[in-house]
Amino acid sequence: MDWSPIWLTLRLAIITTSILFAIGLPIAYWLSKGRSLAKIVIEAIITMPLVLPPSVLGFYLLIAFSPQHGIGLWLQQHFNIQFVFSFQGLVLASVIYSMPFMIGPIKSALQQLPVSLAQASYTLGKTEWQTFIKVLLPNIRASLLTAIVLTFAHTLGEFGVVLMIGGNIPHVTRVASIAIYDSVENMDYATANAYSLCLFVVTFIIVIAVFIFNKRTAKIPLE
């Protein structure tokens, strides 16, 4: 059996989750502090992939990154980057598509922390950065883990966008979900089952690990 779709899927999920963790923390922190029109609009945009069909994103990415015109042409000419049919394209799509799963839980956890916590830290002379790293984050550990795991698992399960902009290239964009779809179409149920079982087991282990870990700190597992 060809294991490359499984490795590719794991690689995509790890890279996507790392990027989202890095950009998600500051965004979630910013969103959790106060309310303004800009924040509401940005939060709405970040949340939209939760409800929009993946084909909407796939369609717009296909048009936007076509090397014939606009952004796609510019990227191609100046940086020689092509987002359609490439691994970096999948990473970009996954980052957009999984963003609400990273930012949502972190933001609400930060909002639920008592304000006095940060205030006490400031009174003791800590800066905002120190407070964020040493006081706020340790207090939302469970939510951080939930956000990371949800993002990772959601990226593992990505299908629609990849089907539209991936081009099904072995070792580059043929992720496990696509390989399963292919094998089913090809009536190769044994291969489809092997890949499916892999995803099933990996997902099960991840989710159960979170449940066990979070049981100690949270009232409900996916808090």
Binding site: H69, Q82, F85, L163, G167, N168, I169, D182, E185, N186
Partner: protein, 252 residues
């Protein structure tokens, strides 16, 4: 009283829709026929008054759906082996009949001369080349064969992207995300209305002719046999053949 009237009306409406549904023939259609089927559908309706509902997909996907109980009456495949597998598995009563032979073309939405495509594909200005997935789409298999026979497969392989059906290859061509794509000739005529395409036929000696087979399915035999038979005969009639020829297919 008002309520009863309403119930009656909706019941009546229900019956009408059920009756209309029985009139509609569910035809599973290979993706390469997506343009010609509209013309066939209109012509068939004009001649017989029977509506057909085309369900378009890659042949492999459609066969899977049929084997898992999809209520389709007739199947127009992109090759002969898929309908044969249905016949062997008992999903159709008769062996498949070949209704047309498809032509492979190489095609682009950019103004390039494709006459000498064997050389062109190896050049740097051709970034990506779309073919349908050879494992499941007959036109993809034909394209792969042609690339191997011309001896350029190894050189162009890094440029290849795979559409899940010939329809997705067509999308890749018209949106310009690939420089060239291998598709069926029928696509050229349909796309003509919207986009200017540049294309060249692939020499028939470079790939095994794409024989497209048709079967009446068990579901059609059981529920819609008379109409299914009419459609089956129509597809093999001179009128349908003329339409196929117009769209760049071979008929005999």
């Amino acid at each position: 009283m008002k309520f009863r009237k309403l119930t009656l009306t909706s019941l009546l409406f229900l019956f009408v829709t059920i009756a209309a549904h029985a009139q509609t023939l569910q035809v599973a259609v290979a993706a390469n026929l997506q343009s010609v089927i509209k013309v066939l559908q209109a012509d068939f309706k004009k001649k017989t008054g029977i509506d057909i509902q085309p369900i378009i997909g890659s042949s492999g996907n459609l066969v899977n759906q049929i084997k898992n109980g999809a209520p389709f009456d007739v199947f127009l495949s992109a090759d002969i082996s898929f309908p044969e597998s249905l016949y062997k598995a008992g999903f159709s009563m008769d062996e498949p009949v070949v209704y047309t032979w498809g032509n492979l073309v190489v095609c682009s939405d950019q103004k390039i001369d494709l006459k000498n495509w064997q050389n062109l594909l190896q050049k740097g200005k051709v970034k990506k080349i779309a073919i349908a997935n050879p494992a499941i789409a007959p036109y993809g298999k034909a394209a792969e064969e042609a690339l191997i026979k011309t001896g350029i497969m190894n050189k162009v392989k890094p440029k290849l992207v795979y559409g899940e059906s010939i329809a997705q290859v067509n999308t890749y061509i018209t949106t310009g995300v690939v420089t060239v794509g291998f598709t069926s000739q029928s696509f050229i005529k349909d796309a003509d209305k919207n986009v200017k395409l540049y294309w060249a036929p692939v020499d028939a000696g470079l790939y095994t002719a794409v024989q497209q087979g048709m079967v009446i399915l068990k579901h059609g035999k059981e529920t819609n046999f008379e109409q299914a038979q009419k459609f089956y005969k129509y597809i093999l009639s001179p009128a349908a053949k003329a339409i196929f020829t117009e769209y760049g297919y071979h008929v005999q």
